[in-house]
Point group: C2
Chain length 455, copies 2
Amino acid sequence: MDRSPQSPGMLTDRYELTMLDSWVRDGHVHHRATFEAFARRLPQGRRYGMLGGLGRLLPMIADFGFDDVEVSWLREQGVIGEQTAAYLRDLRFTGDVDAYREGDLYFPGSPVLTVSGTLGECVLLETLVLSVLNHDSAIASAAARMTTAAGDRPLVEMGSRRTHEQAAVAVARAAYVAGFASTSNLAAGHLHGVPTVGTAAHAFTLAHATEEAAFVSQVAAQGTGTTLLVDTYDIEEGIRTAVRVAGPELGAIRIDSGDLAEESARARALLDSLGNTRTRIIVTSDLDEFVISALADAPIDGYGVGTRVATGSGHPTASMVYKLVAVADRPGADAPLRPVAKKSAAKASVGGRKLARRRHEDGVLVGEHYDVLDHDAAVELAPDDVQVAVVRGGRVLHDPSLDEARATARRALASLPPAARSVAAGEAHLEVGATARDLPDPSSTPVPASEGAPA
Amino acid sequence: MDRSPQSPGMLTDRYELTMLDSWVRDGHVHHRATFEAFARRLPQGRRYGMLGGLGRLLPMIADFGFDDVEVSWLREQGVIGEQTAAYLRDLRFTGDVDAYREGDLYFPGSPVLTVSGTLGECVLLETLVLSVLNHDSAIASAAARMTTAAGDRPLVEMGSRRTHEQAAVAVARAAYVAGFASTSNLAAGHLHGVPTVGTAAHAFTLAHATEEAAFVSQVAAQGTGTTLLVDTYDIEEGIRTAVRVAGPELGAIRIDSGDLAEESARARALLDSLGNTRTRIIVTSDLDEFVISALADAPIDGYGVGTRVATGSGHPTASMVYKLVAVADRPGADAPLRPVAKKSAAKASVGGRKLARRRHEDGVLVGEHYDVLDHDAAVELAPDDVQVAVVRGGRVLHDPSLDEARATARRALASLPPAARSVAAGEAHLEVGATARDLPDPSSTPVPASEGAPA
């Protein structure tokens, strides 16, 4: 059985344990440190990212650790020595985490997650933090574009079969956060409370002697308000049969093939001519934000999206990184933290802990920057700050419902100027950097690319 | 905690339960049926697919079902009626499965998985079968291309942070099947026995006062045979420091940025001039099969591949479908099965159960077709048949080790003509269809596209 018996600690790259092993031996393991997760850039053509996965990640951070069997295995494999084994047996994350809200937007450089604690407990979180945020944010970011393209028409997430069976549950959850109305995935309904929908596949029709017999069976079980799939044989004949079987109260028909603009127009005319003016038309079949945009004028009442939402619509990962930005040079709570940064040209990072700030004009998001904090200052986050204190002393303080995350996403998308909500390829709406007063050389201060004049 | 408490049955699209509910009411649930998984086409430019995930899937099929809490939830949600709830409480898969071996190749139309049983037990497997095969086959197919491009140089899978935390474990497993030497993912080591490797990240160097102090600590913990990451500040300086600290026995250096052809050549010259002729050079940083091919002449001893293997190198899903191909019109073991197929132009399927056949010339795979079987004939698979009897009466009969799956993959890749192993974009090496004698109209017989003259 593949019910993931391993602890969250095992969902980790070996090099984190190898580094830990050195640090246990040389004492660095107890030095205070701060790590940050951020994206250096957005996927090509994307104007914003949407943060997903925070609500899945935080309980796993609180539960982070290894059981005895796992520690023994790591020891036997030579990954760690005995001293590190002892350290891992007792390990619990006891540090602090600040984060952007799930459903909020992020841009290149936004410090979406800040982890503070000892070097040992912080370094081990790298893979888990990035796996969850990169996957779920890729899905949420793609789903947000589809939500925007669909306008008032509801979207159903139905991509489970196109991705790993557990990733599928997270896909349904992230798409719902980003504005999808429902999912086909039952586990997402059971575990996360995402509304589930679904009626029938082509196999249902094929299994009956005739299409009519299939529709009769489905209506008998589910009532006339159900959705009948009409394209197994011939769409026009299928619609006539559906109306004959279900009558004027037929809830919806689904079309899963052909030219959807053309087929939906033909279906609407036929349904209306048969008196079924209230029967809705749902379309599925390789939809994404671009196809949905192109179908805006077609008489369609809802979309089912599969492959493209489950695979991030061309960008299956959000490419966030998790970087050490400050560390103490001796153990102890009173040791000062020293900002650190990697220097290589393509992968440079900015040292020091960051406090994000946003600027709105007439309700429109026109700028985001961060202040690099004096590392020893206590961070007191205000309720309207971009970052939220989500974990303190290892305890999760922030546990919004999925509907609250949906509201965050809705507000965030509404704060973008119309051009930044476009699904057409474009530059990131903002670039996020430090303010001038935090940098020694004002000429190196990044300015939001489109601040004041959003592209 | 996100330890996937749900049963495999819940990793399912709601419409399967909705269909089941109708079939429980109208009696179809007990009719015999056969479903097949296959890919209508390969991702654009791909010449073959490699089957992944079978070893993960079969135990979940054997364990398929729902617990009482889940059945009650489905009932409360109105997904199913009481009669179906009773059916689900007792549900176990009792049917048969035939499949291609994990690690074997497939082409458009190859019947990679055949499920036979009652309509009820077979229809419920759709989502789970496709999630596992589509995800793991996408990874294996991409990884096989990287394996081919790398030749004798070992590949490390290190993409865990770029994908869902549980998908990451399956990625490591599938890449190993396809020929990768090892993974960074500890859970894949613990659960599946994939060899794990890993030494240090940039954070390790940054956390120490100097690069030298970091290397001293790492060598003290892991010995001189370790791999030192030399590009945190300046690569040349990093290499000199690494050699000074570890001496002539330094196992390897890793370069994670810059022009890897240039940097590796410079690093090789410098290492040799310092007397470290046996110190290996490992490179990482946005590698894929194309970059690896381009680096064939660079003095590189091994590759670490992350994002691109974990996301299928541009094709994160294998687009397999699971289709009803035969069904009985009454219940009972003696009822004859009727072949069925969907007629729509773009999504047509071929009815009837299929037996795959391959043709080799001088050890080269030059053709694959299937015979559509007389549906009532017992299928006796021979040991050298393409398909294997993997489940009989709900019991898993086929449980090869990962090393056996690797051997299958190695043999399969070796059976391709050189052009079909190329990573350059091209047509599928073969198209798989029925033989003439199985089709009423010989003019509709698909012929392998490149049979006898592989592109």
